[in-house]
């Protein structure tokens, strides 16, 4: 049996954005929504006009007609007491739907009112509500109804009123969340300042926001109301004078061996109504989300997309000549795109070409949104859902990664190319210890024993400057600081002896004091391990600290590339210059750069 609390609670934030659009009209254009509305409308019309439509009195028993088959007199036959099934079905529709609506109405009145009050005045009202809700939910709804039935009798209206009280928390939660959300938005404060009274604020702003979610919730709860009401009647605990689908089902079930056909009509009515209510609720929610601009499911068939890698060639600085190291990673005309709901592709990287040589540190610099991170992820082939390489090649040690299978990539990742993420705290699995997250990849990628991997993990933790390796090894991610977490991630990246490490803004999310330490650590490790590093950053200070060569990225393209020294000495592209200007403006923290324009040198830290 479904209970109230399992109904999917719509995302309030979404509804806030969608509240003002014309969702009703869109709902009629949604095929499932329309079908559900038609079924429900027909049901309601049948319920309203049951007196007119029913050929007979639904309670008039006739012994001669017991279990009579379908005939002119009884189009759907007669039941175990000889009552006309069609007439009973029509009246049952009326009472079953009315009973469910009655419960939902009571639930809505109690739930919305208390939700508005609790959300608006919070404090004590809130904690009282929490207790009331947990008391109501301490028992299965059916058990409460059975207990109530024991003393208040079989009246459908009384029973469904009790059920309405049980359902009220669903509306309460919804309204409460919406009110708290809206309350914190500026416009309510503004209205307050403008001298609009409390009641008017609630009326105008909050009800307009919760209206649609309440309708969705009401539809789902009405379905549950019908199920529970039918269930009670089916058990024989209802008022036998009121025909309902449950009563009909109960009667039919007792005669299942003689006339199984009688089961069909009430079953069909219950199933059809319940499904329509759920589909109506779902369709309304889908339309709300769509109106709020949430992307629809992406479609296939975008493979024919022709990538656009055209654009001006980057400014290329002449090589120093002393760098004869062989090329490890060669990216050519890389185009990365995301499939769009309409079927198109949104390009985020528009033909990037870059080279990383063995053992060098290569800086990929640009503002956020320039496509640096997307480039880094596509080299690892770890783009988010919907993203893919639509053009160009990624050649790593002679192998084209852009066209490698996932199985081949699994062998490359970790062992050949490693990755250091930007945000340390969100890049460790919160449910496993730090140690196990270091050990597992080593046992898989290097095929070493668990004990060996454990020993190496502890050594690595010590190597990256963690004061108490054993304690950190046994800790969970939420128990360490951001700086520690980033050291752990660096240890993880070097753990499988990769030839190339892609570091995506490894210091951006850290405190300024920790940033320098992490950069020092990276430089030390790079010196020791002679590993090539592609470091993604928006900070020329980082480039100056670490990099041998630089590629400057703007709007998904490389605009300037070459040895770091040469680019710092003589930036050609206006964008590169503007990036320089940006660090000159807030450059005080990084040393005497402001006065060094004539010397064309970098902050002296790089010489350390």
């Amino acid at each position: 049996m479904s209970e109230s609390a399992t109904t999917p609670t719509p995302d309030v934030a979404t509804e806030v954005r969608a509240a003002r659009s014309h969702v009703g009209r869109r709902l009629l254009r949604n095929p499932t929504g329309l079908a559900a509305i038609i079924v429900l409308t027909v049901m309601i019309l049948l319920a309203i006009f049951a007196d007119v439509l029913a050929p007979m009195d639904p309670s008039k028993a006739n012994i001669q007609d017991v279990l009579a088959p379908a005939s002119d007199a009884h189009p759907l036959g007669a039941d175990s007491a000889g009552r006309d099934v069609l007439s009973r079905l029509l009246f049952a529709t009326r009472f079953s739907i009315a009973g469910a609506l009655w419960a939902v109405l009571i639930a809505a009145v109690i739930g919305v009112t208390s939700g508005l009050l609790a959300g608006y005045y919070q404090k004590w009202f809130e904690s009282v509500s929490v207790w009331v809700v947990s008391i109501i939910q301490a028992l299965p709804g059916i058990v409460v109804l059975l207990a109530a039935r024991a003393v208040i009798g079989p009246s459908i209206w009384l029973i469904m009123a009790v059920f309405g009280v049980i359902l009220a928390p669903a509306f309460y939660r919804l309204t409460y969340a919406a009110v708290v959300g809206v309350r914190n938005e500026l416009f309510v404060d503004a209205a307050r300042v403008a001298g609009v009274g409390d009641a008017s604020i609630i009326g105008r702003h909050i009800l307009s926001v919760v209206r649609a979610p309440i309708i969705i919730q009401a539809a789902l709860l009405a379905g549950i109301g019908i199920a529970v009401q039918s269930g009670l009647d089916f058990l024989g605990l209802g008022d036998t004078n009121v025909p309902t689908w449950g009563q009909m089902l109960s009667d039919a079930f007792s005669r299942m061996y003689q006339a199984p056909i009688l089961l069909i009509w009430p079953s069909l009515a219950i199933a059809l109504t319940s499904i329509s209510l759920v589909l109506f609720g779902n369709a309304l929610r889908d339309e709300l989300e769509r109106a709020a601009g949430k992307p629809k499911k992406r479609r296939r068939g975008a493979a024919a997309y022709v990538p656009d890698a055209s654009g001006p060639a980057p400014v290329t600085h002449v090589e120093d000549g002393d760098d004869a190291r062989s090329v490890l990673l060669q990216v050519d005309d890389l185009v990365v795109g995301y499939d769009q709901p309409g079927g198109g592709v949104k390009q985020v990287v528009n033909g990037v070409s870059l080279q990383v040589r063995k053992g060098e540190v290569h800086g990929l610099i640009g503002e956020s949104g320039s496509g640096k991170t997307q480039t880094a992820w596509s080299i690892l082939r770890l783009l988010p859902d919907g993203g893919r390489i639509v053009g160009g090649s990624v050649s790593f040690d002679g192998k084209d990664l852009a066209h490698s299978s996932e199985n081949e990539m699994v062998k490359i990742r970790g062992r050949r190319i490693a990755y250091i993420p930007q945000e340390p705290m969100s890049n460790l699995d919160p449910s496993f210890t730090i140690g196990s997250q270091l050990v597992e990849p080593m046992t898989v990628a290097l095929r070493v024993s668990r004990a060996e991997a454990r020993k190496r993990a502890l050594e690595l933790l010590a190597r990256v400057g963690i004061p108490n390796p054993q304690r950190t090894f046994d800790s969970y991610p939420h128990e360490v600081s951001g700086g520690m977490a980033q050291r752990v991630l660096i240890a993880g990246a070097v753990s499988c002896e990769a030839d190339l490490i892609i570091a995506d803004e490894p210091t951006t999310a850290l405190d300024v004091t920790v940033q320098a330490d992490i950069l020092d650590l990276l430089r030390d490790l790079q010196n020791d391990l002679h590993v090539a590093v592609l470091i993604v950053t928006h900070n020329f200070g980082v480039v100056a600290d670490l990099c041998d060569r630089v590629s400057v990225m703007q709007d998904g393209r490389i605009v300037e590339t070459g040895p770091a020294r040469s680019i710092f000495r003589d930036p050609q592209h206006p964008y590169t210059r503007s990036l320089f200007d940006a660090i000159l403006e807030d450059g005080a923290a990084r040393g005497p750069l402001a006065h060094s324009a004539d010397r064309n040198t970098l902050p002296e830290r790089s010489a350390r």
């Binding site: 003393v151 019908i226 499904i275 449910s431 597992e440 990849p441």
Partner: protein
């Protein structure tokens, strides 16, 4: 850990106290002339008065409540008004039956719902839509309707199962399995629908976490990350839904037991309700609320096992 369980148990006992007190109050205040109801219209005024004294109904409500509570704490819930059977005996003899049904359903639900949810989240496309359709149907169609359908098709028409009856789990496992298969299927559809869509949603959300990319960047295969890491993290929200579903299953079992004539708590609940046998109803309320309290504690412990952050609080 022990302190956590003790604190939860204490809160649970308090909740149990509040719920049973409220139930007692409502039941006795709501009931009319109880002695008259038991004896029927033909009884004389003297007989009714005598019955009321016999049941202690001539005492003030507060006195009766204190008596009931002090007896209940010692495990004595009185006797049924109609057949004089002790309430504890009437319930315990049937509790195991209902629990075997509900726990069997929970296990089936957890397995099937996880499989469906992960499958939908991983494959997306057609598999995803199929699971969503199944979820809507399972959510919308009441369990007892499915039970009636199953009886008709698999018991009456195909004859694969007996339509009614029950074999104790302790007597014969295959026998038990053949009598509970249809009831468990009927009970589990709604829960499977709810939990499968929860698992699907939280697996999809978890797959988008940064650490999934980082773990994969270390050379762990997508499946390894999915089944070991993502599933464990997605398990927490699914467990919360499972707890709610378990409460619903206890209620659903009452109706389904009636359909399959299973001698669990269902028939007791229906019978005592129809007759207004308040001591028995009170016993059922306390037992059900106690089960809910225990299940919630178990779920919280499991949640703490899955999610280390939840262990502290």
């Amino acid at each position: 850990m022990l302190r956590f369980i003790l604190r939860r148990l204490l809160a649970g006992v308090f909740l149990l106290f509040v719920v049973s007190s409220l139930a007692y109050l409502f039941l006795y205040l709501g009931a009319g002339d109880i002695a008259r109801q038991i004896l029927g219209v033909s009884a004389t005024q003297e007989q009714v008065a005598q019955k009321a004294t016999e049941l202690g109904l001539d005492q003030p409500l507060a006195t009766r409540y204190v008596d009931w509570l002090s007896a209940a704490v010692r495990g004595d819930f009185g006797t049924s008004w109609f057949n004089n059977q002790p309430v504890v005996e009437a319930i315990t003899s049937r509790l195991a039956v209902t629990l075997s049904l509900v726990i069997g359903t929970t296990i089936l639900t957890a397995v099937v719902a996880t499989a469906l949810g992960v499958w939908a989240a991983k494959k997306r496309g057609a598999a995803d839509r199929l699971v969503q359709i199944v979820s809507v149907l399972g959510f919308a169609i009441p369990g007892f309707l499915i039970a009636i359908f199953l009886v008709n098709v698999f018991a009456l028409n195909l004859g694969w199962f007996r339509p009614t009856g029950f074999v104790q789990l302790g007597t014969s496992f295959p026998g038990w399995l053949s009598t509970v298969t249809l009831p468990i299927l009927a009970l589990s559809t709604g829960a499977i629908a709810a939990i499968a869509s929860q698992v699907r949603g939280s697996v999809i959300d978890t797959m988008r976490q940064d650490w999934v990319r980082t773990l994969r960047s270390r050379g762990l295969s997508e499946n390894r990350v999915l089944y070991k890491h993502v599933l464990r993290n997605a398990g927490g929200p699914a467990l919360a839904v499972l707890a709610v579903q378990f409460v619903g299953l206890l209620g659903g079992a009452i109706i389904v037991e009636q359909i399959f004539a299973i001698p669990g708590l269902g028939p007791v609940a229906v019978g005592s309700t129809a007759r207004g046998d308040i001591p028995l109803v009170m016993g059922l309320v306390v037992v059900t609320a106690a089960i809910v309290v225990v299940v919630n504690i178990v779920i919280e412990i499991l949640h703490g096992f899955l999610n280390p952050k939840a262990r502290i609080s």
